[in-house]
């Protein structure tokens, strides 16, 4: 039959299944393929902490949402146009994310009595979940895959693992995706190790495609034209990968070898794994015995003259607190990347939040200031990591870079930059055989000089005890007060070296929407939607939190009210209240382990106008 082909500006597809169903792979292949096709995109992996949670249960559902479009895409989308549900639990967990017009593809083989029971559903899940008005495509995916591979000689378990390819084939038909990229992927993946799996996977993929073409149940297929992106070479990149690469870029631009001391922790581990691959760029990675050793080996490496980095997530940052103080006291350059996750304690390790801001700003003993920054998108992690390293090295200070699980695991298409467009990084090295006072400061920046072991004539001692400018131990009250003040001022003076705050939308008026970190895409979309609805508001997003951009106060003064939106209970708004109490602040907060929905922000804007 003829399917109606509809041109769509953008679509959101959510692949959901059991945590062993390969939905993360299916989703990322679909995303990669769309990126190469030329679409703009944003992805959101949403998976449980368990590697294989109890089979068929709602808590074990793993989802991967991908938003593709022919126009600018800034979020993975609130609601989906198509849901692929590989079992009843996946349907139950995701029914609430369906648009009114959504299409649902379900594997009917899993909707037996047992499957429904495990998901806590009854005989008629479609009615029970109130989705009768959606287009439901019921396909026996498991048995079709088995049929497709009946002559392949593969065992049942292996055959079962191929059913995600059947689904992907169907999705390729529905969204008119060329499958060439998947073929190449399969050849790359199985080429050397398991070449016998290449053809069966290709066959299932093609059978899925053809099945979708032949059944009558699919009313429409969709064209999503390539986006009009600026010319250039593009790639898909996740936030963790971009963070690692940004650090490598800083290593190259500073001429200092990269050292990363880290302990594996979700969702930050990907950065350590990525750096461990790129030894060809001189990166040394040390998988430490614990979080404390991670940061302490990095501090040692900083003392020895490396670009030193430690990567972690919230609970790990807690463990590193004392050592962060040591890095502040010794005024050594150090980058600490915190890929935030839902807390407190172990919290919900695979879910995203912005709840570590207070910890980053205040979570140490003594007066212990350091630079705090945040990345705003997966690809944006590259520049953020580069800038974090640049500030750390040039201002002789630890820098905390906050990213989020949502950014670390999420991906987007990225126009590949050229390193010639990035600035050189010039640390304030001391000169050998000249008189060296370890804590003598540059009068402008208050930055001390860096003498590293091996530099003749600059032998000196650093440590956690208070010292004077000469580097001699001192418990003199006046000296302590001076050093406390200088360490704080040194960090504040970084404001002279960071970009000013920019405003999108209205440059003055009733309301300025403010955010920081990974909520950028959602807030930008919301402000654009608000504009279309006739609400004139401004939007300012912070990449630098301590210090704040120099023009912050000036910008805030143009609005009656500042609405601060963040994925915590109000860390940033309270920080702003303390720094600039003269403004009228309102706040919108969400602490559910999930990103914002654009529509939530639009409502918040409406309520605050």
């Amino acid at each position: 039959m003829q399917h109606k082909v509809i041109d769509a500006k953008d679509v959101v597809i959510r692949f959901a299944g059991d945590s062993g169903d390969g939905m993360q792979l299916t989703g990322s292949l679909f995303a990669d393929m769309s990126a190469i096709f030329g679409n703009e995109l944003s992805t959101f992996p949403d998976y449980p902490a368990e590697i294989r949670a109890p089979h068929g249960t709602v808590s074990g559902v793993s989802g991967f949402q991908v938003h593709i479009g022919s126009d600018h895409i800034t979020t993975p989308g609130d609601f989906c146009d198509m849901l692929v549900a590989m079992n009843p639990a996946a349907l139950k967990a995701n029914a609430k994310w369906l648009k009114r017009t959504a299409m649902v593809l379900i594997d009917s083989d899993t909707f037996d009595e047992d499957g429904l029971k495990r998901a806590g559903l009854h005989n008629d899940p479609i009615t029970e979940l109130h989705i009768e008005d959606r287009t439901i495509i019921i396909a026996p995916i498991t048995s079709l895959t088995e049929e497709s591979l009946k002559d392949s000689g593969l065992d049942r378990k292996t055959v079962n693992k191929c059913k995600n390819m059947f689904t992907l084939g169907m999705a390729c038909f529905i969204y008119n995706r060329p499958m060439e990229y998947i073929f190449q992927y399969l050849e790359r993946k199985f080429g050397k190790k398991k070449p016998e799996l290449i053809e069966p996977n290709k066959k299932v993929l093609k059978d899925g495609f053809n099945y979708a073409a032949n059944i009558q149940a699919i009313p429409n297929t969709y064209n999503i034209e390539p986006a009009h992106q600026p010319k250039g070479l593009y790639r898909n990149i996740t936030g963790n990968q971009a963070t690692a690469w940004g650090l490598l870029a800083a290593s190259e631009k500073s001429g200092l070898p990269l050292f990363c001391g880290s302990y594996p922790i979700t969702p930050a581990t990907g950065i350590l794994e990525e750096l461990a691959i790129h030894k060809s760029l001189g990166a040394k990675t040390l998988q430490a015995e614990d979080e404390i050793a991670g940061i302490c080996t990095a501090i040692g490496a900083a003392f020895a003259g490396s670009l030193a980095v430690t990567t972690t997530s919230g609970p790990g940052l807690s463990l590193k607190s004392e050592a962060l103080g040591l890095a502040v006291m010794t005024e050594l350059p150090l980058v600490i990347v915190d890929v935030q996750r839902a807390g407190p304690s172990t919290g919900i390790p695979t879910k995203t939040e912005q709840t570590d801001l207070n910890q980053a700003l205040y979570g140490r003993n003594g007066e212990c200031p350091m630079v705090v920054m945040a990345a705003k998108s997966p690809a944006g992690c590259f520049d953020s990591a580069f800038n974090a390293a640049k500030i750390a090295l040039e201002h002789m200070t630890p820098v905390i870079l906050l990213t989020e699980g949502f950014l670390g695991n999420g991906s987007e298409a990225w126009r590949i930059p050229s390193m010639k467009d990035y600035p050189k990084i010039v640390p304030p090295f001391a000169h050998p055989n000249k008189e060296y006072k370890p804590f003598e400061r540059d009068p402008e920046t208050l930055v001390r000089k860096w003498a590293v072991p091996g530099m003749a004539g600059c032998e000196h001692r650093v440590g956690g005890l208070e010292k004077n400018h000469e580097g001699v131990l001192s418990s003199d009250p006046v000296n302590h007060a001076l050093m406390v003040q200088e360490r704080e001022m040194k960090v504040r003076k970084v404001a002279d070296y960071i970009p000013e705050l920019e405003v999108h939308g209205a440059e003055s008026g009733k309301l300025l929407v403010v955010g920081w970190g990974g909520t950028y895409g959602h807030l930008l979309s919301a402000v654009q939607d608000a504009h279309e609805l006739g609400m004139e508001v401004g939007f300012a997003h912070f990449d630098y939190i301590k210090p704040l951009p120099r023009n912050t106060e000036e910008i805030f003064s143009h609005y009656d009210k500042i609405l601060v939106c963040e994925l915590n209970s109000g860390h940033f708004v309270n920080y702003l209240r303390a720094e600039m109490p003269q403004f009228n602040y309102a706040q919108y907060n969400k602490v559910q382990g999930q990103p914002f929905l654009v529509q939530e922000i639009v409502s918040a804007i409406k309520q605050n106008l």
């Binding site: 030894k279 760029l281 490496a301 040591l326 650093v462």
Partner: protein, 339 residues
């Protein structure tokens, strides 16, 4: 290269340990050993880094005119590891106490030993927390009465030697704070050893644990209650050099030469380079009164070091990889062009 003397390694800082503290002896031994190390290994002074944690002994870096890092409690080993891995050309020395290295820093300590990071750890063992004024440590003897154990401890101590050997340590030596010459000699051996060298110095805290090692360290009976082990030499000790160690079944036995038909030929010859850790473990475990306490280099075996391994792997990958700069990296893998 000029020959350094101990004076060049002395900083201008006033040494603030208590008069009579055993730490003075260790500092003096190190300042005397480093000119020899420098000459033997062709180092220059700016390559030395002395690292410490927190505690009385951890003040040591301030008294050395070298690069120094007085860090935080327990973390010296992790900081030393980072320094050495970042720049394997540096000669890293570490001062730490029994509480610092074996309680709060126990994890870093065993892992540095396991990884065989080429650092030289001087473990000051006075069996007490001195800087916090007299609480028991993980090496305090069972039953020790201290401020936090007024009725005696009810926990077994670590023997640092067995801990190091149990973690497959490649170098372990023991000395006394008052044995300046032996300590310097051990420090030279440790410096020459490629890998993690742990030197336990039995130190005396005159204020909070005076006489902790008295039963073996007192001049009066030191020769009879300790044995200085030297590679290739017979394990003979005693004021009259008439006592020795021999193998007895699965264990060791103290014998008197000339009694019961025992001759010098029956006495064990110390082999610090033996891969087999069994006898080294027994030697490290010897306790008074059944045995003399072993001093000297108990184990010194070759193995690959962690810092070399990291450096070599970087070089190997670099030689093979197509990715030689960040621009290569950014353009690697799947990309597409928008025209």
């Amino acid at each position: 290269m000029p020959r350094y003397t101990f004076k060049e390694f002395k900083s201008d800082q006033e040494v603030r340990w208590c008069p009579g503290c055993g730490d003075h002896g260790v500092l003096a031994a190190l300042q005397r050993a480093l000119p020899d190390v420098t000459e033997a290994l062709g180092y220059s002074k700016e390559r030395y880094v002395v690292v410490s944690g927190i505690g009385c002994s951890s003040r040591l870096p301030y008294y050395m005119n070298t690069y120094g890092f007085h860090s935080i409690h327990g973390r010296a080993t992790a900081i030393s590891t980072g320094i050495k891995v970042a720049n394997p050309e540096l000669a890293v020395w570490q001062a730490c106490g029994d509480g610092d290295a074996l309680a709060i820093g126990g994890n870093h300590f065993i892992h540095a030993v396991r990884r065989n990071v080429d650092i030289n750890i001087i473990l000051f063992n006075n069996q007490i927390y001195g800087l916090t004024k007299g609480q028991y440590s993980p090496t305090s003897r069972f039953g020790a009465i201290t401020k936090t154990s007024p009725y005696g401890t009810v926990e077994h101590p670590f023997n640092p030697g067995s801990l190091v050997l149990g973690a497959k340590g490649t170098f372990f030596a023991r000395t006394l704070d008052s044995e300046l010459k032996l300590t310097s000699e051990i420090m030279l051996s440790a410096a020459k050893h490629d890998g993690c060298s742990v030197m336990e110095v039995l130190t005396n805290c005159v204020i909070f644990n005076d006489g902790a090692h008295k039963l073996i360290a007192d001049r009066e009976f030191r020769a009879d209650r300790t044995i200085v082990l030297r590679h290739g030499e017979k394990m003979i000790f005693g004021k009259n050099r008439d006592k020795g160690i021999m193998l007895d079944g699965m264990g060791l036995r103290v014998v008197t030469i000339g009694q019961d038909g025992i001759t010098e030929d029956d006495i064990l010859v110390h082999d610090a380079h033996s891969e087999n850790v069994g006898i080294h473990m027994m030697l490290a475990d010897m306790k008074y009164p059944d045995f003399p306490v072993a001093l000297g280099v108990i184990r010194d075996v070759k193995d690959v070091t962690y810092d070399d391994g990291v450096r070599d792997q970087v070089a190997e990958v670099k030689a093979k990889s197509k990715i030689q700069c960040v621009d290569d990296l950014l353009r690697s893998g799947s990309t597409w062009e928008v025209k």
